[in-house]
Amino acid sequence: MDSVISAKGFTKKYSKFTLDVPELDIPKGFATALIGANGAGKTTLIDALCGIIHATSGEVTYFNKYKDIDSTELREKIGYCASSGFFPQAWKAKDIAISMELAYDSFDRKKFEELCGQLEVDTEHTKKARAMYKQSDGNRMRTALAAVFARETELMVLDEPGSSLDPLMRDRLCDRMREYLDDGEGEKSIIFSTHNIADMENAADYAVFMDAGKIIEQGFVEDLKEKYVIARGESAGYDEVKGLLLSHNCNRTVFDGLALSENQEKLSEMGAACERPTLQQLSIGLLKYAEEIR
């Protein structure tokens, strides 16, 4: 598997939080979702990988070639978009176009105009265009996404791109991300973070689950769906299967929980029905499990 980013011994220490990633390989040509609760370290990881903050220790290799994130050539290849307040609040679309055109060789001002139109936000030619602070969070995110997609990049890193968007726009974003990957023919990759995977499930090929600054699980979504099962049954049998469940919900009548597929046979013998999990169920199950053993 070719990696777009591989990291070893990667840490970022703050006084009250430590990001600790002993090993991370983000596959090339796919969309990778960083999934975790608030404060899990998704943004810290993204910011450290993109050079917005500096890692305390560790080595990162980008595109199997670059080691230094400050390399101008490397930064041209990465399209980064923060979760909020990406651009200065006083800026309008024209300021963004001017700044990005000067900063990046590959920024296509015409494409930015088109994307702004498609995403229904002010373009640089909109009469009485509004500054960022006068726009909603969703519109600010749309403008930032239009700006970042208007560049020719090989890796898109999007921090919580869907959190401020409405469901329809999240769906469009997923389509846009798919188009980006298809255009790249295996050469382009996406990393995005989310704590609400339900609406962006279709966009993720590879998933990295994080909790309290650590990676608790990672792999291709299809492989993870094979690795785990959702077990369901009547609450009467709950005590018997409890030991095989990683995380569980139980009420007076029924229970369900996440378990390893290798235990599927035993679970069936105990009367539990097993089914393939969705990414959403997988996320909740794994994050609950991580929280319990933390």
Binding site: H54, R75, A82, P88, Q89, K92, K94, I98, L102, A103
Partner: protein, 217 residues
Amino acid sequence: MRRYINDFRIFTGKTALITAMWSELAVIVLFAALIAVHTLTDSETIRGFCEGFIPMFCTLIPIIGYIPCNTTFNLNRAVNPGYKYFHSLPDSAGRFRRALTASSVISLALVLIWAGALWLWSPTISMFVVFMGLSLKGTQNIFGHAKSGLGMFLPMLVVISAMGFLMGFTSTDADSLIYMKPEGIFYAAPAAGAAIFVVGTVYSAALAEKKWRREVD
């Protein structure tokens, strides 16, 4: 030079330059109006008002020069929206250094254009403007990397107070500042301002990349 100006525009977009230009225009209009009133009126009261008000008004001129650079400094603060965008740019630290240098030169140009025009009317006032403009810019460059907003603001107040003190110290009841001939201290003050400006600009440029990288940690 073009590279420096472009890097400044990367950080400020169109907004900061437009704000500076509108502010400049507003000051020009008000200033011209005051001078016209001062020249045309026969009333001693109004002339006195103008003579008192014009030197105070001069403090606005260097502050206009202060705006673009202040904007640039502020962008390197994690609390301000936009800092992640700027930190994600290729060669962002180098660009920050060049943008700061360019903003200092723009400030200098704004001050000198005004001082040149004022010289025709009152050389003394012109010298004060040069002193304050350059000292303010130089001081801002020295303290601009301070993390605290107060750390940036206090030196500015000291410079403005110094100008007020200098004006009060040199003017007499008999002779308005406007008509005084520039000599002695009037030449020393701009020279001191120029020295502060040069030191501040070199210092801030030398420290810019280091501060840019450290800020994010």
